[in-house]
């Protein structure tokens, strides 16, 4: 019996095994570990729409709980959860075409191609702002690969499993994303001489 057992020591996969037996405490531990990460992922993927990101996080954990029986033993929980999260984002892209409307929602006055004022050139805030804009201009696949690799620090192999594509495709997506970001942000980079 695990009445007095703390689930904090268990791995994600062990916790998921408990969840598959409808253990609410183990599910709560998983929620504590992953909810913030998932919300951050949704914020980035859904164009900084906080309310929608909260809804999606809730929806994701609902799906995790409902499909607990379908969890494959041996698969890492993080890649399983991220693949579900990515599928939710893909559905959202399909239905609302959020990538295009994102720029209008953010309502940034400055354009990425415009040359900023000299005093703003090295301003970190401007750089961060432009980075957000440039990230939102990446395609959904590139943005997901970028976020999972450089922000969530998943391996290329794990990303390939999450995005359901070959590792080579992940690398090329990362390459294009980095090149695109570096080109669009070259004039804003505060460390550039």
């Amino acid at each position: 019996m695990r009445i007095f057992h703390s689930y904090k020591q268990d791995t994600d996969e062990e916790l998921m095994r408990w969840v598959s037996r409808s253990n609410t405490k183990a599910f709560e531990e998983l929620y504590t570990r992953y909810a913030r990460r998932m919300q951050g992922f949704f914020i980035r993927m859904l164009g900084y729409d906080i309310a929608k990101a909260e809804d999606f996080t809730q929806e994701l954990f609902l799906k995790v709980y409902e499909s607990r029986g379908a969890y494959e033993e041996g698969r890492t929980f993080s890649s399983w959860a991220f693949s579900m999260a990515y599928n939710l984002c893909k559905n959202e892209y399909r239905h609302r075409d959020i990538v295009e409307s994102h720029e209008q929602e953010l309502n940034y006055n400055s354009d990425a191609t415009e040359e900023p004022a000299f005093e703003q050139m090295y301003d970190r805030a401007v750089f961060e702002n432009q980075l957000s804009i440039s990230l939102s201009k990446l395609s959904g696949d590139q943005l997901a690969a970028f976020t999972l690799r450089y922000n969530e620090e998943l391996s290329v192999q794990e990303i390939a499993r999450v995005l359901d594509c070959p590792e080579g495709t992940v690398k090329s997506r990362l390459h294009y994303a980095l090149r695109s970001l570096s080109q669009s942000l070259s004039i804003y980079n505060p460390i550039k001489p």
């Binding site: 909810a35 913030r36 951050g40 980035r44 909260e54 609902l62 976020t147 690398k171 980079n189």
Partner: protein, 172 residues
């Protein structure tokens, strides 16, 4: 090849800066936003479970409904009713189409040569005047066509009359 290019790109100064800033922004977004409580999530899970339970039909109810249907189907006296009481008797109706061809019959017609009398009388101018005034209907007796005649169009008309149809005259 691609991996080398990617590694090179990752190690470049500009991209390193981008990656660092992106990570900082990501962490800020994660930490800065409130998270919904676990209780609200569980409440939602319970609500969904209740909804699906409400929608689901119990197999016992399904079996009971089938049994009731069978009882109604077998016990109602549909077949015991006398046949005369039936409103309509089912029967097969065969629709046939009647078609009659046109039959042509050769008829022998006696050809008669008609002599045309030409009378030329001298008419006085007074008589001419009177003939003009009086309607020909009044002077000439034109009998009505006889329907029993084989050629009703010509019935009661003399060949000498000027208004006789030319085509009939030719046939004659």
């Amino acid at each position: 090849m691609k991996e080398d290019e990617l590694t090179k790109l990752e190690e470049s100064r500009d991209v390193k800066q981008i990656l660092e800033t992106s990570k900082a922004l990501y962490d800020k977004d994660k930490a800065g936003n409130t998270l919904r409580s676990f209780d609200s999530l569980m409440k939602q899970i319970d609500q969904r479970g209740q909804t699906s339970r409400r929608v689901g039909i119990s197999p016992w109810w399904l079996v009971a409904a089938c049994l009731i249907g069978l009882l109604i189907g077998w016990n109602l006296p549909f077949d015991n009713a006398p046949k005369d009481d039936k409103l309509a008797v089912n029967d097969t109706v065969v629709v046939t189409e009647k078609h009659t061809d046109t039959i042509y019959q050769q008829v022998q017609v006696a050809v008669k040569t008609l002599d045309r009398k030409e009378r030329r009388e001298v008419v006085s101018p007074q008589t001419m005047q009177a003939q003009k005034v009086v309607a020909p209907v009044m002077t000439t007796e034109i009998p009505l066509p006889d329907p029993r005649n084989s050629r009703p169009a010509t019935a009661g008309r003399s060949l000498s009359q000027e208004d006789f149809p030319v085509h009939l005259l030719v046939s004659l």
